[in-house]
């Protein structure tokens, strides 16, 4: 079976500024693949290269076994794409837009289209200009899914969606892969990808930093933890637990960073009376430091 996406040393410069620097990527058919990186890392550049919006300076890309440039029309027939910045002429209803976009695809199944809009709670009779950001994102999602493409390339698909709709989107992505289709989605937040993706990679400054199963990435991610106890606690109780770093205690409030498994830490916390607990995922930028500092440790 042909791989869904393959890039080899894919490189793109904007003038002298580097957008993407020698990216090697392989996405298997039928998987949900998370494409992670902080803003400006080169995610959108990569995606635009895959769809022939941009042309690479070096290296090559292959999508569904096809060359984005030479076989672009055939390739784009089989792909559904959601741009990171989804903008369309706002002076039309989404129904009019779907009619146009459907015609560009030689017609799409109207009943499936209706099901999609219903499912996302999008009223297709409203002028797009007057839709909220979240609702515009739904328009973008519908047009990407509407022809049941073999490959979905989605740039920040869940941005602007509320948690319930994020769930709905995740269900749609899983259903697509259950039918053997492939989902390639970018995000700058691990938590948006971790519940749905099988594998993920992280890029930074146009270079690949890590490719792994999502669970592995998650285990290595760092959480910032803040716990308020009913009474003051001694800092040294937590300082030596594996994966716990930067422990500070002010009165009855503990803050620290937690990496990897939480078990030992939770059991230590449980010995005290806990008033409140907050655990935030660190953003990817900080996650890279985890990777880099790991590398430095090993070296």
């Amino acid at each position: 079976m042909t791989v869904a996406i393959r890039t080899e040393a894919l490189t793109k410069y904007y003038g002298k500024q580097r957008g993407l620097d020698g990216l090697d990527l392989e996405v298997q058919p039928g998987e949900i693949y998370g494409f992670l990186g902080p803003n400006g890392a080169g995610k959108t550049t990569t995606i635009r290269l895959l769809l022939d919006v941009l042309r690479p300076n070096r290296g090559r890309a292959e999508v569904l076994g096809l060359d984005p440039r030479a076989e672009g029309v055939e390739l784009r027939k089989r792909v559904g794409y959601l741009p990171g910045d989804f903008v369309v002429n706002g002076r039309q209803t989404s129904r009019q837009l779907f009619k146009h976009l459907g015609a560009l695809r030689g017609g799409v199944d109207g009943r499936y289209l209706d099901r999609l809009t219903e499912r996302l709670g999008l009223d297709p009779t409203i002028i797009i200009r007057s839709l909220s950001k979240g609702n515009r994102q739904k328009v973008g999602l519908v047009q990407a899914f509407m022809h049941r493409p073999e490959l979905l390339i989605l740039d920040e698909p869940t941005s602007g969606l509320d948690p319930i709709l994020q769930r709905e989107f995740q269900a749609m992505a899983k259903e697509a892969t259950a039918e053997g289709r492939t989902v390639f989605m970018s995000s700058h937040v691990l938590s948006e990808v971790q519940e749905v993706a099988d594998r993920a990679c992280i890029i930074r400054d146009g270079r690949l930093v890590a490719v792994d199963r999502v669970e592995t990435l998650r285990e290595r991610s760092i959480r910032r933890v803040e716990i308020v106890f009913d009474e003051p606690v001694p800092a040294q109780t937590f300082a030596h637990i594996e994966g716990v770093e930067n422990v500070t205690v002010e009165g009855s409030t503990l803050t620290c960073q937690l990496r990897g498994r939480a078990d030992e830490f939770v059991k230590a916390v449980a010995r005290f009376s806990v008033a409140s607990l907050l655990a935030e995922e660190q953003d990817l930028e900080e996650m890279f430091f985890a990777y880099y500092s790991d590398g430095a440790d090993r070296a």
Binding site: V73, V87, N89, Q92
Partner: protein, 267 residues
């Protein structure tokens, strides 16, 4: 299953329908006013006014035969106001269809649909052609309908020919902005460059040839090959029409060439 034939042309015309209606009313309105005014003036008064003006100015503005019906139409409707409006319309319209669409970010989605870049440019160019000839048809209709009531006796076939040339003039500028837009996806750059060329073209056909030794310059001017006033007097010039059509075809080819070989949306 291929895309619906000419879907991009259909959609562009539909999206621009209000804009097109506005320009059609504008050009038809200008034609209506200038044609209608003819009935009010006493032709002999024209001669008095003309005698008081410098010869070179009269030539520059094509006012030599102001008193004759075709001379009047040629120096007003088909000489200045309407062709200038048509050029402005074409520049604005052609820019919307490519460079402005790209700069707004709305073109990105379309190029990721199963339509080749070349087909996209050709279909948008066809939109420009339909719009240009459509607007020119409205000018023709108003001039033709009003000519009788105001005793403006101009052969209908000459009027048709001049209107067709007007449509071609618009087409050249509409495809010119697409050609520039094929290489540069920036609205301001495209409109500025095209407007400069339009001004050069207009003065190149009117004022510059008055300077002795620079008569040849008019052969570089699109406006010269449009030749509205001459066509009204003397009839259709096939060669001039073919030059304008050929130029438009060349510009569309250039637009497709440029657009097909570059990144989209990076300015």
């Amino acid at each position: 299953m291929g895309p619906t034939v000419l879907e991009i042309t259909r959609k562009a015309l539909w999206d621009q329908r209000k804009n097109l209606l506005g320009w059609t009313i504008g050009l038809a309105g200008a034609t209506f006013i200038y044609t209608g005014v003819y009935g009010i003036f006493d032709p002999t008064e024209f001669d008095t006014i003309m005698d008081s003006l410098p010869e070179s100015m009269i030539q520059a503005f094509g006012w030599e035969n102001m008193a004759s019906p075709s001379g009047y139409l040629g120096s007003t409707v088909y000489g200045l106001v309407v062709p200038v409006l048509a050029m402005v319309f074409a520049i604005a319209f052609g820019t919307r269809l490519l460079a402005a669409d790209e700069e707004a970010g709305t073109l990105e989605l379309i190029v990721t649909y199963p339509v080749s870049r070349i087909s996209l440019v050709l279909q948008r160019a066809l939109t420009v052609a339909v719009a240009s000839l459509g607007v020119a048809s409205a000018v023709f209709a108003v001039a033709a309908l009003l000519a009788g009531p105001v005793d403006l006796e101009v052969p209908l076939d000459n009027l048709l020919a001049a209107s067709f040339q007007l449509g071609l003039l618009a087409l050249v500028f509409g495809t010119l902005v697409m050609a520039i837009g094929g290489f540069v996806g920036r609205r301001g750059v495209v409109m500025g460059a095209a407007a400069a060329l339009a001004v050069v073209s207009y003065f190149g056909a009117t004022v510059v040839p008055q300077i002795s030794g620079l008569e040849w310059f008019q052969n570089l001017s699109v406006f010269h090959f449009y030749g509205g006033a001459t066509v009204l007097e003397e009839g259709f010039v096939v060669a001039d029409a073919l030059i304008l059509i050929g130029l438009s075809v060349l510009l569309v080819a250039l637009a497709a060439f440029g657009f097909n070989r570059r990144d989209i949306g990076t300015g």
